[in-house]
Symmetry: C2
Subunit: 190 residues, 2 copies
Amino acid sequence: MARWEPGAKVRLVDAAVDLFLEQGYENTSVAEIAERAGLAKSSFFRHFPDKREVLLAGQDMLSQLLADGIAAAPPEATPMEAVAAGVAACAEVFVSERRAFAVKLRSVVAGNPELQEREALKRARFTEAMTNALRQRGVDAPLATVAAELGALAFRLSWERWTDAPDDQSFEQIARATVAELQAASVSLR
Amino acid sequence: MARWEPGAKVRLVDAAVDLFLEQGYENTSVAEIAERAGLAKSSFFRHFPDKREVLLAGQDMLSQLLADGIAAAPPEATPMEAVAAGVAACAEVFVSERRAFAVKLRSVVAGNPELQEREALKRARFTEAMTNALRQRGVDAPLATVAAELGALAFRLSWERWTDAPDDQSFEQIARATVAELQAASVSLR
């Protein structure tokens, strides 16, 4: 799926996160999620293989946004400028209307070790996507890996800060400030 | 369990990895692992809650080695010198007699998405342990986080390089060279 498709899928994701918060992830069934979203159980399985995957709906799209953002940076952009462009590109989905959802999602994941595992793997995939995008720009191995790790860290911190931030701060603002902060720390590392 | 206890536990771990390689992770039962290790099934459950945990036997100990190595670095050590000491301290368990095991483990994990998730979470825990150890040395937040991320990356690359390396290269040598390489990359990041 190249783009987030509104409608049934988003309704399922929102219903799932609400139910996970209300009654716990373990205690929530696929049937309940479908019902809350006003859909048949069979609709659920048209969109997701299982309950856990609901929370990862955006993963492939975010990997793509990170990679495309890096690829689309001007040819003269430094590796960290390209990384900043990649993380900032996620602002396309982290719009203010989705912030309340992100706050709930963060709280669900924080309370569940199984979901934390999945999150950790998701971050590893983001690092991989960014490493590959940087290498395609001609950035060599150790530099590309380090820049991508910092990018993944910046992505995570930016997302957390965005869920904590007042409504008028955009994800893009936060992302650019976070990348700059991590780059400054990195350059001063002794 | 505070320390790696030789004997039954190591035998179970070795038996498990051999069986996972021979017949696949999914197709291997706890009973088979115990049998291969020459132990009763009940012995297995004295050491591990389930099959997957066998592959994470060393995780708590490695977190401790990383954190203790950082804590034990001289007071005047820079953050990256402390990180290098932490990663190098893992040489205590990554001894040449365990290299063949590590090669097998790496191959088992590479072939199984469920185990890759667990590995990704393990790395997140290592980062956390190193971040905390650095903060206790008085290193502030963004610097401690970046140094710990680089430390976790250095740990993973060192482990991979160690499993690829000729027998006469010690984990400590590889770890120190890897931390130095990542630090050089990090300092040059623009």
